[in-house]
């Protein structure tokens, strides 16, 4: 029995150790070393990179990342909840509707982001249409700003909100909705007093699944933010490439990770209290 358990556990543990913890240790080590002249790291050990993370210049980027990820998560929740509720309560075609939600996954995220850029840029579909209809005289600044980044993130991560929400709402006893209506609750009240509280585990799961990747997002802010809206992910990338400051890049990644852990823990604890 004991051997069997070890045998089952071993592959997973090995993969985690080699592919996750080892690189993490390397990143930790990098963050505590000094930058080399042409990239890479050299001795001596120092905590100087961490001090710089909280420098107002970079602190602002971290703060902005949390803000953008937070807004995107909230928007995903606001859009995803009614959608998930609708699908869960639909009498027919549930499978089809769920597949439609997941349909974007069939093409690469990169390509889909480029598609958005073609839509939004100054000579893009939306602007050229509005221009030719003489609705506007100048192209609208739809791309390369914070709004565009948030749009891209919401678009990209909405399915990660919808799926866990759907899973909880689908299990909701429909008689509870009947009971609420029976006791005089209008549909909106029923949603607010019965559906939302009972969907909290799904909401927490969905928020984590959206917030965490949004916080570390790199591709979307890079392409749709046009370098103006730099998020933490771009900062990290920058340090490892152009800036050639590997220790600082490593330190930023680790701080980002701790941030995510703190948020996750807080949310998890709230859910446990609720259940």
């Amino acid at each position: 029995m004991k051997h069997l358990r070890a045998a089952f556990l071993a592959p997973g543990v090995a993969v985690m150790a080699i592919l996750f913890f080892a690189p993490l240790l390397i990143v930790l080590a990098y963050s505590l070393l000094t930058r080399g002249a042409y990239g890479g790291v050299v001795p001596p050990w120092t905590g100087e990179s961490y001090a710089r993370v909280f420098d107002p210049l970079y602190g602002e980027i971290l703060y902005r990342s949390v803000w953008i990820a937070g807004v995107s998560t909230a928007l995903c929740l606001a859009l995803g909840f009614p959608l998930a509720l609708y699908i869960a309560r639909a009498a027919r075609h549930k499978g089809l509707l769920l597949n439609l939600v997941m349909l974007p996954f069939w093409t690469s995220f990169l390509i889909r982001t480029y598609a958005w850029m073609f839509l939004l840029r100054d000579t893009g579909l939306i602007n050229s249409m509005l221009l030719s209809l003489h609705v506007i005289r100048e192209p609208l600044p739809l791309l390369f700003n914070t709004g565009a980044v948030i749009l891209g993130l919401v678009y990209g991560y909405l399915p990660f909100m919808v799926l866990p929400l759907y899973a909880t709402l689908e299990k909701l006893d429909p008689y509870l909705l009947d009971a609420a209506a029976d006791l005089g609750a209008a549909p909106f009240v029923t949603v607010w007093r019965v559906v939302v509280p009972l969907a909290k585990p799904g909401m927490v799961a969905g928020c984590l699944l959206v917030f965490i990747p949004c916080l570390g997002a790199y591709l979307t802010p890079d392409l749709m933010g046009g370098g103006k809206t730099v998020m933490a992910g771009n900062l990290v990338q920058n340090q490892f490439t152009t800036a050639r400051d590997w220790p600082f890049g490593a330190a930023v990644s680790l701080v980002l990770m701790v941030l995510v852990l703190v948020v996750t823990r807080a949310l998890m604890r709230r859910t446990e209290e609720l259940l």
């Binding site: 209506a181 029976d182 609750a185 007093r193």
Partner: protein, 333 residues
Amino acid sequence: MFLRYIVVYEVDKVLELRALTKHYPNHHALKGISFSLTQGEFFSLVGPSGCGKTTTLRLIGGFEEPTSGEITLAGRPVAGLPPYRREVSTVFQNYALFPHLTVAQNVAFGLERRNGVTRSTIRNRVEQALALVQLSGKEARKPNQISGGERQRVALARSLVVEPKVLLLDEPLSALDPKLRKQMRQELKSLQRRVGIAFLFITHDQEEALSLSDRIAVMNQGSIEQIGKPRELYQEPTSRFVAEFLGEVNWVNGAGIRPEAIRVSKENPANGARSVAGVVESSTFLGNVTHLAARLPNGANCTAQLPLNGCTFELGEPVHLWWDASDELRVSA
């Protein structure tokens, strides 16, 4: 406490169903049913599984709209009114208590958001309702921290506290074990007397219906077979279906006789009573009574329910079974 809220309607019928039908795509669940409840009445709807009892309640509650026919509540048609605008309240079969709310919050749910109901009124009425169903002291528990019987009482209190014109109960006792079920049956009846609200009670247990109801409607395949007082239905069923649904019946030469109306003796009584000869096939001791089954010459079985000391017959013994002609059930079909 609830008595003070009772309103006497000008219309005597607090709820009336007229020629109600409900057609599903492949099924005619209700084929035109009509009945009415008077104020304070305990009315039961009984019938086998799938006969349309729940469908009837869902139409009254407003969860589904009838295909045709009319429902009036206290004299007013309710067609088109959503469930949250109808002054009826339902005790669901699985109780449908809100798992995230405490017992007190569950009971308070229907009182919140009502015009002119203050917090302290809510608190008082929740307290009274919980006292009424003997649940004082359990206010702070969640539904998963109380027993099945207690959950049932919470559901009752939650529905009664909003003072519905009619309380709809969909097999509220069926989730309880038999002993608790009998106890709750008595409590339900006395509760109904105290609150004076009309109860529309669904069950497929004939004993429950007979013991609780002022009147009973027997349903069969989407239609009502007969409506009447328990005694009427039991003693004067108009159809074979009703006779058989509400108790055991022996059919001898086309006449129906209840087992408890049959006497058994070794000799032919020759007292003018109807009688038939048979051979004792089995006798089952049930404590207070004994069930004796005899085989008749035509091969049919006939059961008699005999008092404790009335059964001194051997298996295989030829006997005479007899009864008063007045005890025969005269059914048309």
